[in-house]
Symmetry: C3
């Protein structure tokens, strides 16, 4: 994309209503309007094009980007760090083990204490069902109150880096990848996507990726099919959103009982393991009770149950049934690859290998999606600000 | 504060003698002259006004701000990070577990090894009585020698982020909060402040906050009253400083045996738990011996003793006895709040809740106090430098 | 060094062929041409002179410098952080415990996932024989492929922060120290350097420092003598390189059986402990098998064997046999100092103390060596780029 293309994208952005994003959080994609979703995708594209064209994307001279990771993370951690740095913010991680939070400090207090000089706060909290999103809401409320009371000079805005309900930085990166692959957001209409459960010899994987996918892609007029074994249901509220979305967008949403049915003629497949909702609920309860025996028993029971569905694997055979045998294979990574990272897993090694490059491209959009979410929450007129940046013409590599 | 107010503050700063702060450390407030204390408070105000007026406070293009936290910390950690970033420095934390210090490296050596590109070093070391300040002095001496010998190109200056004796970034933030609340440093003269021990179901809390408070506020002509149960004495050297200070400033310092007496007619109350000096000494000895049984026994004995003073709580009733029933309630946070973070604690929940906003404001001054300490140690003519920055007129949010 | 001296150095740099360094990694000094080695030393000098002359060395507006430390580190960690910050990059450490690497992610995948916005990757991996360098090669290959496939917008270049074979940031800093001490690279010709094993009451120290030293200093026409007890051999491949280098440079390389012989008339001595190659191999095997009993037994056996050579200590007596009794004493630090960090160690306390200042100076070159390695890998015409920077005349301390 050259400068004139970037200018065109900025014009497209200027046509979107992003007023509601200013000083606001990005927690769930379905809280955002179509304009806001489109604006986020466009802004990510602009920032990527600017950086790749060696233009500075710096919007800040100083300021903190706070991160709170309550679960392991590599790609999201680095994406957040890269995005913050791209905009000129310094990352400060809240390591809860090294903080005084153990002293019994409340969420409200901590949220304010870490935010005096913060512009954004990124949170990953996906382990306990019913907790991650609730925690983020509590943090958002706390800093909103702090800002209104004059305790915080600026409203630090939140970016959901994965909660128990949604994983918007992932699903939005996935969407950008689809846009690039199929040639535009409008080109996604009518495309069939199979979001399918897949076997993994582990348990306790969050529901946020499949939920994020059905909650987002149903907005683009796509034919979204969810497949999973009996008992591996997603949160019913999110399925309702998928149904509503597809009605509004002229797409469709349905659930089927077999991976094979979902894959049939699909343009896109997203085979990925997750834990049954009920297991996540039990696990949350047992973790809180610190019931190690119960947890071990649950794990064994769950793994045994998983093993009944060991044939839910994305194989060469299953890929052959997709459109022209060439559906785009998606995964949020890391995948459980049969014969590589485990004996039997989510995907056959040859399939994974064939799609390695597109998978890495898919992951590569995340820093820009996060930067776009930050950007739109911090600048009231993002198109004008980006125009300024282009005019400033400062280089990233000097 | 608009630009002309900032200019006035810079003029006020220019009138203070800060020569002794250049290339020097901020370890104890009582090592600093009245001019230096005033200059630090003014500089913090200027930096805050600049940032809130969206002016860049960047004094460095690059350079490290090293932090060494030997105890848990949230607010000081984030304040240090924010302050460093505000001035253009990158924070690098010395995680002693991941370093080679275990190999038997000396303080002198480590201090130099981490300082080749460092501008400032912030240290929290408050656990062992008789150690924190001593350690900081050793680091300061080491980098001073390194600088004189030409090993270090610049003299990295130290900021005490809490030691066993003083907690200057806290007490100075508290002072700035008082200045804002009462309308100026000169308005503090004659105000009564009650620094009182309060009950907490924990033990081992450092003495540095109450010591920092009596060591600093006695300089402002205030009527400082310390209250604690028998056996919870502070370090006698610090009390001597408080006595001397109050003599010089026209204020007073006295110790009383009851919280109630201290609170009577007070303008400001600071009820906070700490461990008896003797317990801290025993604890230091036992920790060094790694005597777990002894430590457990000490903890039990200490907690039992604390329980004798469970009525040392800041309640609505005790607040009623303060000036007009409306004394300003201070705490360094996190507080032990009765019925919230513990069954019985330092303060009643309704009192804490009523003062939540001022408490958060109090905490919010810390990043600027730390930035001011850094600034005054790095720039020989700080007023001129700030004037330059104002003239440069660069924005923080671009 | 004033600006005109810096200009002269830039001219010298312009005369070196550094084309092969652009977009390339710095893993082993013997993979680099003489021009490349000289260019790295000159660039380090220029960057140091610029910084000390208060000129900005910023080459980047944003970008990540990723570090991966698989072993403890203080000085290299801080050197890397300082170097990255000097050039305008933000450090992001890959903490493998907090990442998803435990999930079975491959090196290829992780390498790409952390590199989307990365300019450089620094790796320390020196614990397992046969692994560190192999790992670095795997990372380099992965990002090279990612770059070629368009997954990565830039080629992140690697800096070896110590592997099982070489420790180039150390040996190059040592070389810069020698250049300063003796007055130029050309002045090193004919100087005798004694790289000698020394006793330490620990075991498992890597071979990379002595190997790095004999692999590098033999290039400068020096008389390099390696001394160690029977059984403490270095990797034969590296000794072959030393032999070849010395042939080409007009220097010499030989191995002797006694520290005393090596020290005799030496201009430079580098007494330092390391583990026997065979022990490192056994240790690697046992660590992989997680054989704790075997490891303990190996440690005991190795320590007992070490104790047979407790007289391999750099003492005042041994120093007296060096040239005029005044050889330059080198160590990568931290040293095992007799009577200080251990009962008997690598060096007598009085010797160490006398050389403390030069030792610290030696260590102080490392940030600039690392910055130079980064710089040469990122800028195609480094002399022109440095010239630009000088012309820009931006200050480091504003």
């Amino acid at each position: 994309m050259d400068k004139s293309d970037i200018k065109k994208q900025i014009e497209a952005l200027a046509g979107k209503n992003t007023a509601g994003m200013y000083q606001s959080d990005f927690l769930l994609t379905w809280d955002k309007s179509d304009d806001e979703i489109a604006a986020t995708l466009i802004t990510a594209e602009i920032l990527r094009a600017m950086r790749e064209g060696n233009l500075s994307c710096r919007g800040f001279d100083s300021g903190l980007a706070v991160s709170i990771f309550r679960d392991h993370s590599t790609r999201t951690r680095f994406s957040f760090a890269g995005a913050a740095d791209l905009l000129g913010l310094a990352v400060k991680d809240l390591d809860e083990e090294k903080s005084q939070i153990a002293h019994g400090e409340t969420v409200r207090e901590t949220a304010n204490m870490i935010s005096f000089l913060a512009e954004v706060v990124g949170i990953r909290d996906d382990i306990f069902l019913g907790e991650g999103h609730t925690y983020m809401k509590a943090v958002a409320e706390a800093v909103e109150m702090g800002y209104r009371e004059g305790v915080l000079p600026r409203r630090p805005t939140l970016v959901n880096l994965q909660c128990d309900i949604d994983h918007p930085t992932q699903s939005m990166s996935d969407a950008l990848h689809l846009i690039h692959t199929f040639g535009g957001l409008d080109k996604l209409k009518g495309k069939k996507v199979a979001m399918s459960w897949a076997y993994s010899p582990s348990y306790g994987k969050p529901l946020s990726v499949p939920q994020g996918i059905i909650g987002l892609l149903t907005r683009f007029g796509m034919e979204v099919v969810l497949a999973h074994p009996e008992g591996y249901h997603l949160m019913p509220e999110v399925e309702e959103i998928a149904v509503r979305n597809s009605g509004l967008s002229g797409g469709s949403y349905r659930r089927v009982a077999e991976m094979a049915e979902a894959f049939e003629g699909a343009d896109i497949v997203y085979p990925k393991s997750w834990a049954p909702f009920s297991v996540m609920a039990d696990r949350t309860r047992l973790l809180k009770q610190n019931d190690r025996a119960g947890l071990k028993e649950l794990e064994n029971r769950c793994l045994a149950r998983n093993r009944e569905f060991v044939d839910w694997e994305c194989t060469e055979a299953s890929m052959r049934s997709t459109r022209d045998g060439k559906a785009l294979y998606l995964h949020c990574l890391p995948a459980d690859i049969s014969g590589v990272s485990c004996e039997r897993g989510e995907v056959a090694a040859t399939v994974f290998e064939r799609y390695r490059r597109p998978l890495y491209l898919q992951a590569g959009y995340k820093p820009y999606i996060i930067a776009a979410m930050m950007f739109l929450s911090k600048f009231e007129d993002p198109a004008e600000k980006l125009d300024d940046m282009i005019s400033r013409n400062e280089k990233r590599v000097l």
